[in-house]
Amino acid sequence: MTERPESQKLDTPALLETLSSDLRDLLQTRNIENPLMIGIHTGGAWVAEELHKNLNIKQPLGTLNITFYRDDFTRIGMHPQVTPSNLPFSIDDQHIILVDDVLHTGRTIRAALNEIFDYGRPASVLLAVLVERDCRELPISADVAATRIQLKTNQHIKLARDKNNLTLSIAEAK
Amino acid sequence: MRIKISNGFVIDPANNIEAKHDIYIAEGRIAAIGIEPEGFSSDKNKLKTIDASGCHVIPGIVDLRARLREPGLGNKGTIASETRAAAASGITTLCIPPDTTPVIDTTSVIELIHQRASEAGYAKIVTLAALTAELKGEQLSEMALLKKYGNCVGVSNALSPIKNNLVMRRAMEYAASCGLTIFLHAEDQGLAGNGCAHEGAISMRLGLPGIPETAETNAISRDLLLIEQTGVRAHFCHLSSARAVQMIARAQYDGLPVTADVTAHHLHLTEMDIGFFDSNCHVRPPLRTQRDREALIAALATGNINAICSDHEPHDADAKLAPFGETEPGISALETLLPLALRLSEELSLSDVIDRITSQPAKILGIDAGTLSAGEKADICIYNPQTNWILKTEDMLSAGHNSKFSGWEFKGKVTHTLLNGKIVYTNQSH
């Protein structure tokens, strides 16, 4: 057994760079000209801010808070200090880029898709994530992911923001 | 059968006795206190000895007002169930108000009640007869006949109002000429309205319709003026406010023939106890403020309030299972009368406490009871003042379990109750 550091940092700026260029390529392939971008609160929204800048998207950035759509609501209740969803545009017949930091079980994306459809009927939704990890519980996968990794059961991955610098790190539960 | 109660500490306020004595009972009466009558224990087979070591021996308690629910409301209680609860609580005489169904305005109702009581054999019952026919406050009842043939000890309109002052005046005059004491529930119906709690901070907070203090004092002031005019002997039931106490004390000072009682729960609870709509605190008159409670206790100590009663009102469970104002008022209180009275030992001497539940109520009712004088009927309560116990509603003997005092810890529990020299209750488990 090799010793592992308690927390292992990933080269996040590089990942963001990869994600931006992969996403640009995908949009070109799919012939999507004027997409809308929606980040999932909170980590996804941070990543979306970067992508929104890098891809020079004209429409304002939307954010989604999926609290009201969680499937574990009756178990965990609700935190009153949630920032509400903010989609400052009509999504009908628009191409949407849904952004999250980490794709894990897939439940968050399921909730986000449900919420998006309560705002209207988009032409398409594609999913961009910084990290696609294992342990999916739903048939959901990312269209673009900067990296794909496998973690041990006691490990988890977390995005943090300090000023405007995003840092992904893998930590181990004790 | 002869009974000797040995080694008990006897408290008999009427005879100024407060000492360790043996009591000798023969032929259902008290034969002697302290000195054994000659030949009392000659026949050992016919002598029973009750060892009252460590216990207090007091006259059987006289409860000025208790509703037994019979005749009329068998689902709430019967004479048998309630007198049994009385016996277990050291109460040997109960006075019942006339608001039974049918109303006590005929001698046949009184006969029925006495018959049921003697069948049960747990306690004596005396009755107040209706002051007006069917308690409607319009026509006088046949009080002279009710006294002569029914042996009623007084007249009362119970909780029903007499709105017409002239009717009240006539009723008092007539009762005076019959030599009957009139028992008054002082409540001005207009001011009380549909109230269900003391009008004050709590009723304001809970949005409950209030009964102002003036509902009581206004009625007392009318009644006192008419008492003065008519000369009737009057007793005011369940005073609830400091102001009312003041008015009664003044009238007594002025020489009016007026007495008053207070319920045990008004001495221990206030409007605060309603909390969030505790329907067991829905009583009539309403629980008032701490200041009122203090005044009631003080007046009991000075004797301006002469007696403590239970104002026992047993209810079926449904009667209290509703929003506060829609519940029926009253507390099932026989079983807490003595223990609540004993809790007043800070403010009153023990002898005074016993006086207020034995000889004073007997005096108000004009009956031979409430003392341990030689020759009197041997109605006796023996209790152990050291026994600590907690009231649990499920242990209550009354058919009504509606007590606010559930969970309260009490000191002092009845071990024996004797009625006419017979043991009608015994519990020596402690």
Binding site: - | L206, F324, G407
Partner: protein
């Protein structure tokens, strides 16, 4: 003996919502914040979130009120709950027994929440004391006692215009004695730290005891309205003319009706509120009710968000489903 607050569960979360009294400031702020999150839902194409999908909410109305019932119903439906509307003729259930029987029957139908309106003070507490442990009770008005969701939507409305409660002077005008709305508003304003709460009206409907609620009593409207930030007008029940509480609507309007003239005594940016339905020309002049300072219609909109907040908080407690976390 300390009385356990039956409104809270073992984790201190809101289980029932019966009265504002006794709830902490933070709980009230949580309700307001949660309602704020819900207010965006009403602006969307599909005005629905799936939070309470599969839950059943019974509106138990022992006292007719289409308006209040409708906002509760809408709130429940926007949370995706199933709603059962039950109007009960009070005369048919004057006995507590049948009220409890009815509760048992509804419990047997797996109802998760009762929204209760009743004409007796304490009715909501009574029902809350007798429901099965998993059921929540929301008080939609009991007698003259409390109407906590109305008070919270009023706080929500005030907060949108005057975010700092600690700087406000609020006047409530009308029948305080019989008003469950006023009682709940006063508790809420006090809890949220409003330094000066005034009640204005004649002594027949604002008795001396009102001061116990933590308010300043004014019998003169001109004095009472001086420099207030918020004016809350209460609805005058027509029945109050009986029982010698007030001489006439005409006189009441003259003395205590809110007119443009009287409103000038308040601060220039004061807002005017009313729980509705309005008696125009009795407690408020039409030009004020419809005027620029009136936020009366906004109150109705916020009512839905507040009710969504309270319903979702009461039904989204971890104590409902012990264990099974993953």
């Amino acid at each position: 003996m300390k009385q356990h607050d039956i409104q809270l569960d073992k984790d201190g979360k809101l289980r029932h919502f019966l009265t504002i009294e006794g709830l902490k400031k933070q709980m009230l702020l949580d309700i307001l914040d949660t309602a704020g999150n819900f207010s965006s839902v009403g602006a969307r194409q599909i005005k629905k979130v799936p939070l309470l999908r599969g839950k059943t909410i019974a509106n138990l109305f022992f006292e007719a009120s289409t308006r209040t019932r409708t906002t509760f119903e809408l709130a429940a439906k926007r949370l995706s709950a199933d709603v059962l509307n039950i109007n009960i003729n009070t005369s048919a259930t004057s006995k507590g027994e049948s009220l409890l029987d009815m509760l048992r029957n509804l419990e047997a139908m797996q109802v998760d929440m009762f929204v209760v309106r009743h004409n007796s003070s304490g009715a909501a507490h009574f029902i809350a004391q007798h429901v099965a442990p998993h059921i929540s009770v929301i008080n939609a008005g009991d007698g003259s006692h409390a109407h906590p969701t109305q008070a919270m939507l009023d706080m929500f409305t005030i907060r949108r215009y005057k975010p700092d409660f600690s700087k406000l002077t609020v006047a409530i005008v009308g029948d305080i004695m019989h008003s469950r709305v006023a009682r709940s508003q006063i508790h809420a304003l006090n809890t949220l730290g409003v330094p000066e709460i005034r009640v204005i009206g004649p002594q027949t409907i604002i008795p001396k005891e009102a001061a116990h609620l933590g308010v300043h009593v004014y019998h003169d409207m001109q004095q009472g309205l001086q420099n207030v930030d918020v004016v809350i007008m209460l609805r005058l029940q027509r029945e109050r003319m009986e029982g010698a509480l007030l001489p006439s609507e005409h006189e009441y309007f003259h003395m205590f009706g809110l007119t443009e003239e009287k409103l000038k005594l308040a601060k220039a940016d004061a807002i005017v509120m009313h729980p509705g339905p309005i008696n125009r020309g009795v407690e408020i002049e039409s030009s004020v009710a419809d005027g620029p300072q009136s936020v009366i219609l906004e109150q109705v909109t916020h009512g839905i968000s507040i009710r969504m907040a309270v319903m979702s908080m009461a039904l989204g407690r971890s104590s409902l489903t012990d264990g099974g976390q993953n």
